[in-house]
Symmetry: C2
Subunit: 186 residues, 2 copies
Amino acid sequence: MEFEEKTLKSEKIFDGVLLHLVREEVLLPNGKTSVREMIRHPGAVAMIPFTSDGKMVMVRQFRKPLDRTVVEIPAGKLETSDTEPLLAAIRELEEETDYRAEKWSELTVFYPTPAYLDERITIYLAEGLTKVENSLPMDEDEFIEILELTFEEAKALQESGEICDSKTIYAMLYWEMRLLRERIEG
Amino acid sequence: MEFEEKTLKSEKIFDGVLLHLVREEVLLPNGKTSVREMIRHPGAVAMIPFTSDGKMVMVRQFRKPLDRTVVEIPAGKLETSDTEPLLAAIRELEEETDYRAEKWSELTVFYPTPAYLDERITIYLAEGLTKVENSLPMDEDEFIEILELTFEEAKALQESGEICDSKTIYAMLYWEMRLLRERIEG
């Protein structure tokens, strides 16, 4: 089966502070043409940080598109699409939570919505946390509350809808499986 | 802690076929102003369809933002934000895969990336599948290959990167946990 959509014409619609919108005319496999509207994004990192007593570190912040606060695992966008994700993750974790992690492992990579967006999120497991004195300062105009949650506390926030974004819903399922594995292995 | 960002000015930047871009000037909790660029989207549904022999039904399609094919669980966007998600899911499953499901259950709801997008995806488990003769026709200009995959086959597609979007990465983790649970319960 032939799938490829060849670009016939590409047009920049909007070049914003964060978002870059492109409209392309494409040639479909059946010879017809269609329009694809796409957002360009440099990519992001997110971390699942576990404290030594098995809590997950999350952050509460206001998300304007939903017009309410959302509780999420720490994350940040890459400066450019060439930024090394792990270095960005190490810096973001310290900026947002004042924690440094001893042990980092890449858990997964996903595209939130590849139908019209090229954002790619790399998710790391961050363990062996220690609090940093004089940690890296947060970006100006970021208002963040740091939370350290037990699984039950986080589950309650998921049920109330405050935990609701793709990377944190993934983190919750990951956590549930980790607890299940620990139970099996004794 | 005060989080709310009040909208001072809202401006439509782009009104496309699929995407609607809005730029807002907001008043931050510290009295300063900032700009929020946001995409409006009517929302979507996705389904995790299991066949009677334990395979998951997925679809392969070209995703222009990544310029390659991606294997995903079946999904579709809502006509409007008022569309009843379950009815949309039932229709989309039949259109994309020629299957009808006897048993539907809502698994989760998530926002792919609430920092700048209001899209909300409801994910359903669809079981008790039967093939439909003369099924609903697919949207014109959709080119889709239907796959029925064992866990090992899907895992290989995840490792090669063809399974890579948030809802399908979630589905894979859900599947892994389901298999783990089945093993425990004998």
